[in-house]
Amino acid sequence: MSETIQKGVGWSRREIARNIALSIPDGSVVNLGIGIPELVASYIPPDREVLFHTENGLLGMGPPPKPGEEDPELVNAGKQPVTAIPGAAYFHHADSFAMVRGGHIDICVLGAMQVSRRGDLANWSMGDSDAAPAVGGAMDLVSGVKTIFVAMTHCSSDGTPKIVERCTYPLTGAGVVSRIYTDLAILDVRDGEIGVVELAPGVDFATLQRHTEANLVINRVPRTA
């Protein structure tokens, strides 16, 4: 299980982001988490218009500002400076989370520490009791957004699989993940099964299964996002 993936095999972080971007339909409203998800915005095909929501009160988030043009009062959920596109709207936190919790956001892309066969997601806490826990908007997003995509490396740096039979870390939400995008594969989570939608170049099913704790199902027809 802890055999590490060979260097150079599989998709890069940017390729994971591109894979996600290509699966987002024109006209979608999308919320992006921190890490690989942040890279998704720059890979949206130019013929698609996708609107980005940041839960701290902006719909129509644009790319980062040029150096020197940062505004400390215009930031994203990761507290990094951003811009607003023409047609953007600002709103307060309760209105912003009404969008999230009321099912008005189409897709949320999040990082994860673990995803289970049933689509349970763990991405907010290692479960240690010494450090103060922090949850932010993760639980709101996974319970409210219509479709949850996870973007992550297939295994942790020591080779431990992150796609598991049952999460050992505290849950962010139960049965919430629809699709998993890793360096090794694109996986579809449905009806308590994880199906392989696409394998990264140089990765075969047996290799993927060796790096995955949960049982995988082959040749799954993907559902549309």
Partner: protein, 235 residues
């Protein structure tokens, strides 16, 4: 490229028999007359309508009710000057009424739009309108459990919309429209003015475009109050 523009007939074409439809407006202010008339033309029946009132004269919502298209009304005040349409149907037992206090109605719509299935309110506790409802004490006071309200469609009116569906309203014509936009699967808006993205200051947007699905431009909307004063009826 996002483009939510529809013409009047197309905007309401898929409202099916039996649908639940939210209708904006407080009395005549904010009533989406042109959308309502398009819905009359379209022919859907057996509708459940959620609106603060039941229309006036024989136009707009009153005309929809008068033509027998509405099976049930959820509202706070089904009486309006210049209209006996609803009262006549009600006395004849041809229409069902769910009477909801006005603030509870607004809050139920917001809750529906915000993913809240139920909440507690002091409004109506100890009154006839709380009969049969679950109650619960918090502190020394009794509260009534009320349920979030969602709908298939919302028909609302605004002053200006941009390409992405961001809306601003006019004065007290705003009333229920923003919470109805939140609570409907498909929100259909008639706007007096349509502008490109960027045409509305992002600080002043009242309804962000995520809540809006179809935009119909009606440059000089009919005013219900003027129609009623003129004795108009539709069609």
């Amino acid at each position: 490229m996002i483009d939510k523009r529809f013409d009047l007939a197309a905007a309401v074409a898929d409202i099916s028999d039996g649908a639940t439809v939210l209708v904006g407006g407080f009395g005549a202010a904010g009533s989406p007359i042109e959308l309502l008339h398009a819905l009359i033309d379209q022919g859907a029946k057996n509708l459940t309508v959620v609106s603060n009132n039941t229309g006036s004269g024989n136009v707009g919502l009153a005309a929809l009710i008068g033509r027998g298209r509405v099976a049930k009304v959820i509202c706070s005040f089904p009486r309006t000057a210049n209209s006996t349409v609803f009262q006549d149907k009600y006395r004849a037992r041809e229409i069902e009424l769910e009477l909801v206090p006005q603030g509870t109605l607004a809050e139920r719509l917001r809750a529906g739009g915000a993913g809240i299935p139920a909440f507690y309110t002091a409004t109506a506790a100890g009154t006839r309108l709380a009969e049969g409802k679950e109650t619960r004490r918090f502190g020394d006071r009794e509260f009534v459990l009320e349920y979030g309200l969602r709908a298939d469609f919302a028909l609302i009116k605004c002053r200006q919309a941009d390409r992405l569906g961001n809306l601003v309203y006019n004065k007290t014509a705003r009333n229920f429209a923003p919470v109805m936009a939140m609570a409907a699967k498909t929100t259909i808006v008639q706007t007096a003015s349509y502008v490109e993205a960027g045409g509305i200051d992002p600080e002043t947007v009242i309804t962000p475009g995520v809540f809006v699905h179809r935009i119909v431009t009606v440059p000089n909307p009919l005013q219900e109050s003027a129609l009623v004063a003129a004795g108009a009826s539709y069609p």
